[in-house]
Symmetry: C2
Subunit: 246 residues, 2 copies
DNA sequence: CGCTCCCTTGAATGAGTTCAAGGCGCGTGG
DNA sequence: CCACGCGCCTTGAACTCATTCAAGGGAGCG
């Protein structure tokens, strides 16, 4: 019955270190696996869930990518996050049990579903899951704060450069190239995420391209001069104990 | 020894409904009280903690107000939140145990200190504390997302109006007047919070004042036409099931 | 082939910033 | 008690960066 689409197996999942199962032993991971539900793939522009929906489950991106956004009374929207593989969606429902954002797929994507009821049981059985969830929540809060800094403080150039560097680092830590990747989002999504217009995004990409920092071909991005890119971004970064550069 | 400044007593604290003790019975509240430490009052511009400090405790505002902000490599800073009575500070350390923001007092203020070690013990003894903490975390995430919408999408007028309305509602729910209050923050703090300059903040306040919506006298704000203020803010609000207006 | 969607580029416009000057309140010291 | 200085805030004028408006290119698809 369950899982006609994919066999869920956290133990052999290449994302296990990023995901909830991080820090668990074999046995515990198998226990976790047992509560994870599989869903049919979600097509581009299809909703995973909608703002104000009752939250019954959290979701982890297994493949593909998603965009979360808040719709306002006047019909405008604000993109809050892009989600790549291994990232957990739905935390903003913790307040009152309803999703605070809508989430749509940006390409055909798959997710692992974590039913809340079962998740709460697991917390009691495996404290390490709770601990990992806490870290994930902390990561979410910290990244929201980074986003606030980006939106509040920065020029279009800095926003664009930060966006590219952020993506580069996320792809890299997923095991992909950090210097060559395809954007799964449209210009509109980027603009909306960064608090800019699509024209400005387009111009910024052209400008970075003219400076020889990147090569742009449609959705394809190649970073040709990572050092220069980091030079643009650096002033924007929070002072931290451990440097972000690697 | 402990608590030479204030007797901590969650049971008779007027903030108990907003705070961690919400939803607990008498006995449980007394148990919670036992782990809460008191600290000497913190003076204006004094740090409660600094970005990158190891987090040993969370803090709840008992009286006064605080500002949290992130310092960047280039020396700039971005205000993340203002904290009023009953609000919990320190959640952004959940990721890795270090504070992601600095927090300073905006006036002489007092806090209740919640040592993490003891808090984690209480979770096991009183599940309702854990549940309430989860709601508080959810509230934090949701309010961060609101802030992202505000910074990403909105004109200076809308930002200013939203800021005032937000404060009004928070003061009201603390039992103070929602139409007449003193700002504890300087213009600089407001500007930095909203991603504007102090001149723009000043002009926006003047403009709202000229329209008869508010009266401004230094830090003192009086809202003279709440309906008009809400009219400015409304388009910016997320579509929600339950309206924010009351 | 022709349509649509997405993206780029140019030119004009404008919201907010920057620069500059001045006012007000308050504490300190003469 | 007043003078002075300092921090904080307001206001005006010039400027600038991003937006808006407008046009057109190119990929993908029926």
């Amino acid at each position: 019955m369950e899982s006609i689409f994919h066999k869920v197996d956290c133990l052999h999942c290449r994302l296990s270190e990023l995901c909830l199962s991080n820090g668990l032993n074999k046995e515990e991971i198998q226990q976790l696996t047992s509560i994870v539900k599989s869903k049919r793939p979600i097509k581009s522009d299809e909703f995973l869930y909608r703002q104000n929906d009752q939250c019954e489950s959290f979701y982890v991106v297994r493949s593909g990518s998603f965009r979360s956004f808040i719709s306002n009374t006047d019909g405008s929207e604000q993109t809050i996050s892009f989600y790549l593989s291994g990232e957990l969606m739905g935390l903003d429902s913790l307040q009152n049990g309803r999703f605070y954002c809508s989430v749509v797929a940006m390409e055909t994507s798959t997710v692992c579903e974590l039913p809340l009821a079962k998740l709460n049981e697991i917390y009691l059985q495996i404290p390490a899951v709770q601990a990992q969830m806490t870290r994930i929540i902390g990561r979410e809060i910290a990244s929201d704060h980074d986003k606030i800094v980006l939106l509040g403080n920065r020029s279009a150039t800095e926003k664009m450069a930060t966006f590219l560097l952020m993506l580069s680092q996320r792809y890299y830590s997923l095991g992909y190239s950090g210097t060559r990747f395809n954007l799964s989002m449209r210009r509109y999504d980027i603009a909306n995420f960064l608090g800019l217009t699509i024209e400005t995004v387009s111009r910024q990409l052209s400008s970075l391209s003219k400076q020889g920092i990147i090569t742009v071909d449609q959705r394809g991005i190649q970073i040709d001069n990572m050092d220069l890119l980091k030079t643009i971004v650096e002033p924007c970064l929070p002072k931290r104990v451990s440097s972000i550069n690697k």
